[in-house]
């Protein structure tokens, strides 16, 4: 009975790692589609989000089942609640990938990312992808060092977003208001996505060390 219980805990973790992989693929595809004005790939991201939503429900239901059927000890309770909350972060990250895909679809056949900010958006996308890979490692190995490194990566993403705003308000911005709206939204989606990787990783740090990392995440 107890073995079945620990097997369930392991399977919860495996589900989270799987979700993280799907979310990373979604944002990778969404940002590539955005940069290439590829409506087909964007459409694929939007459709594939159902799978991420289903996995989130599955993690949540499995957690409630575990809590209800067993009387988990304190440390296991934290693991289960943390799993539920991380699954919510991941579900939201999937939504943000969908939002990026929707921008691509709305502007098709044009590209929503003007050349002036292409390099910055590309760097933000690469950072978001790397941060998700690091989150996968945090989730599968409880690697607290990687979790803390994610906060530095998040600062870089915030700095890139500020670069985008500088470009939007510079005289070189010749792409009008419509272009500005799209780039503002995309920048914000990527920034929030990165925030969620940090937030999920911080929950693991709390679980492993028993205290929150010093820095606050907004």
């Amino acid at each position: 009975m107890r073995d079945a219980y620990h097997e369930s805990l392991r399977s919860l973790r495996a589900d989270l790692v799987q979700m993280t992989g799907l979310v990373r693929a979604a944002m990778d595809d969404a940002t590539q589609a955005l940069l290439d004005a590829d409506a087909g790939t964007a459409e694929g991201v939007i459709e594939a989000d159902t799978r991420i939503d289903q996995l989130q429900m599955l993690v949540e239901e499995a957690s409630y089942e575990l809590l209800a059927r067993q009387q988990p000890v304190a440390s296991d309770l934290r693991v289960i609640i943390t799993a539920v909350r991380i699954s919510a972060d991941l579900e939201r990250m999937g939504d943000l990938a969908v939002h990026v895909a929707e921008v691509t679809r709305r502007r098709y056949p044009n590209c929503a990312v003007p050349s002036l900010v292409r390099a910055t958006v590309t760097r933000m996308a690469a950072a978001a992808s790397l941060m998700t890979t690091q989150l996968e490692r945090v989730l599968s190995d409880d690697d607290v060092t990687v979790a803390l490194r994610l906060e530095t990566a998040d600062d870089d993403v915030d700095a890139e977003l500020r670069q985008i705003f500088v470009a939007l308000l510079s005289p070189e911005w010749t792409y009008g208001v419509e272009g500005a709206v799209d780039v503002t939204l995309v920048g914000r989606y990527l920034e929030r996505y990165a925030d969620h990787t940090v937030s999920a990783a911080r929950r693991i740090v709390y679980l492993v060390t028993g205290s929150w990392p010093a820095r606050a995440v907004n």
Copy 2:
């Protein structure tokens, strides 16, 4: 012992209701400051957010304590986990009020909301305020009817946001790119804020009825 336990559950709910009141005041002040270009009030919203963050930590810690010290039955477990998740929604709503306040501060002494979209932003702010009051009622009375009504209100907020985008892309938009960036962000913050009221209310519906309301929230 059991009485102390139920007292703790009641106090958890009271904390959530108190948080909701603080969050509503924060967004009310933030949107009023935005419309009046009132940097002082905006500053107050930013400072007061610490209290909301503290309450969130308090709810979370109290929940873990309850789970660890007691062996709650299945239904109480759901209540506790729901409390943790709603506290996260509320904390995020507080952050969104801060973001609105930051826009006001950045544009001071100018007003970030041009006359063309003033009525729309005012309606979105009023809707957000009302939705928070409704959420307070859902939290204090488990009122599922009100929870379902929130979804309709959320549709209205989404429609207002679309109106803002229409205005931004119309020939009447003479407020340049900087104005467009601010209004895009403010519109998005209010829309996300409204989403979180719905998401928190849906968790209560799930708690009370045992199943999720039919509609999906993105």
